[in-house]
């Protein structure tokens, strides 16, 4: 029981540190789906574990135990000790500010993306072009029609500098890349991973890892759509270099997919499938979820025992 209780927390720790390199080893579509699933599974199960630990720690207070008609003799031999309770509490206090910061950031970015999509409602074409000296493009996700809310269609935004930098074939490859983001709904994977990282800040590196995987996924999709890997590599390379005589920024280690790595991947054959690794990750996700369900069930059994012991003890005292 103790192991199952801590396994989700351990899984979150492992995923938080190994997630990015794991993602790079898998083909991008598989990496995106598995990392998102793993992030959601570890975030939700570690919340369950924390809740169970909190309840178990609270019940060690004799008055609370008596109030719940539970035997403190049984509770005191439970799966937690005052030390683990203190460590868990401390960890929670340390992680809370990170969770709050990530939550605020996600809220702001989502609100901004929503405003952007909404601002386009009246725009007459599926592409919008801004006059800007930087070569850049991005896909704005649409919003399905909701009650009292008309649907907002998807848009592609590009700067005129990017369109002038690329030739006809390269522009087509760039559009195919942006279409792939929209068609595969990459923003949903990013949103879900970000939510998971808010729920458990140990997963803080996952959103960047999934961003990187979705970029590589869109690259692979676009290369397949135009039937030429090199033309997209050249589009990326040319656009990136055209932005250069601005200040070449040193990018934080875990930032967005490095354009150099993407060009390298496109100049190589398509990535191998790595089926075994994918299955291993899938099994690990399933095991974490199972462990969480099992620990919840065993905690319930444990309370049943404590309740029974309380009744036995109190029956004896009334008969005496």
């Amino acid at each position: 029981m103790t192991v199952n209780l801590y396994l989700p927390l351990l899984a979150a720790l492992v995923l938080g540190s190994a997630g990015p390199s794991l993602g790079r080893r898998l083909p991008p579509a598989v990496a995106t789906v598995l990392l998102t699933a793993a992030a959601l599974a570890t975030a939700s199960t570690s919340l369950v574990s924390l809740a169970l630990l909190a309840v178990l720690a609270l019940l060690r207070v004799p008055r609370v135990a008596a109030e719940g008609r539970l035997s403190d003799a049984v509770l005191n031999h439970g799966p937690t000790s005052p030390l683990t309770g203190a460590v868990a509490g401390l960890a929670l206090l340390v992680l809370l500010p990170f969770a709050a910061r990530a939550g605020v950031r996600l809220w702001r970015e989502s609100a901004r993306t929503y405003r952007l999509a909404k601002a386009f409602s009246a725009h007459p074409a599926s592409i919008a072009i801004i006059h800007d000296p930087r070569a850049q493009a991005f896909a704005v996700p649409g919003i399905p029609s909701l009650p009292g809310h008309a649907a907002i269609p998807t848009r592609i935004v590009a700067t005129d500098a990017l369109l002038r930098t690329l030739d006809d074939a390269q522009r087509r490859a760039m559009f195919a890349h942006e279409q792939a983001h929209l068609r595969r709904r990459h923003h949903l994977y990013l949103l879900l991973t970000n939510v998971a990282a808010v729920a458990n800040p140990l997963l803080w590196r996952l959103p960047d890892a999934v961003t990187e995987a979705t970029e590589r996924w869109a690259d692979e999709d676009a290369a397949a759509a135009v039937g030429d890997r090199e033309v997209l590599a050249r589009a990326l390379g040319r656009a990136a270099l055209s932005n250069l005589p601005g200040p070449p920024r040193t990018v934080p280690a875990m930032a967005q997919a490095h354009v150099g790595a993407r060009v390298r991947a496109l100049m190589a054959p398509p990535p191998p499938r790595r089926r075994v690794l994918a299955v291993v990750v899938g099994v690990a996700i399933a095991a974490t979820v199972w462990a969480s369900i099992d620990s919840a069930r065993e905690t319930e059994d444990f309370f049943d025992t404590a309740r029974a012991a309380w009744h036995v003890a109190h029956l004896h005292s009334t008969h005496r």
């Binding site: 989502s110 890349h177 033309v231 590599a233």
Partner: protein
């Protein structure tokens, strides 16, 4: 170059992109040439007319045909929002994926090594 079928909206995007990339107005025949893959002249003409009707293109007479050029977006709501998104934290995006991240000196070296100086 590309295979014949395009997803919905892609033709419109490519037509507009070609007009933006061109230093001077383009006739339907010139746009047709940019798009390749044996697109029908009437298809290109229809798209240009529609974009012109929506106020996204201006046109000038050039011989028998019209030559089209894009209307540079005014400071409308969408343009403002786009600029905000462009400025926004490009190195740590939350839900908006950009075509290019910030380029580092290492990236530039890799690109030059793989693709030469003018990719």
């Amino acid at each position: 170059m590309a295979t014949g079928r395009r997803p919905a909206g892609a033709l419109e995007q490519e037509v507009l992109a070609a007009l933006w990339a061109s230093p001077r107005p383009l006739t339907p025949a010139a746009v047709q040439e940019h798009l390749g893959d044996g697109l029908a002249y009437t298809t290109v003409k229809t798209i240009l007319d529609r974009l012109h009707d929506k106020g996204m293109l201006t046109r000038v007479r050039e011989g028998k045909a019209y030559a089209y050029s894009p209307v540079v977006a005014q400071a409308d709501l969408a343009a403002e929002a786009m600029r905000a998104a462009l400025e926004g934290s490009s190195d740590r995006p939350a839900v908006l994926s950009k075509f290019l991240g910030e380029i580092s000196a290492d990236d530039a070296a890799v690109i030059r090594e793989l693709l030469g100086d003018l990719p």
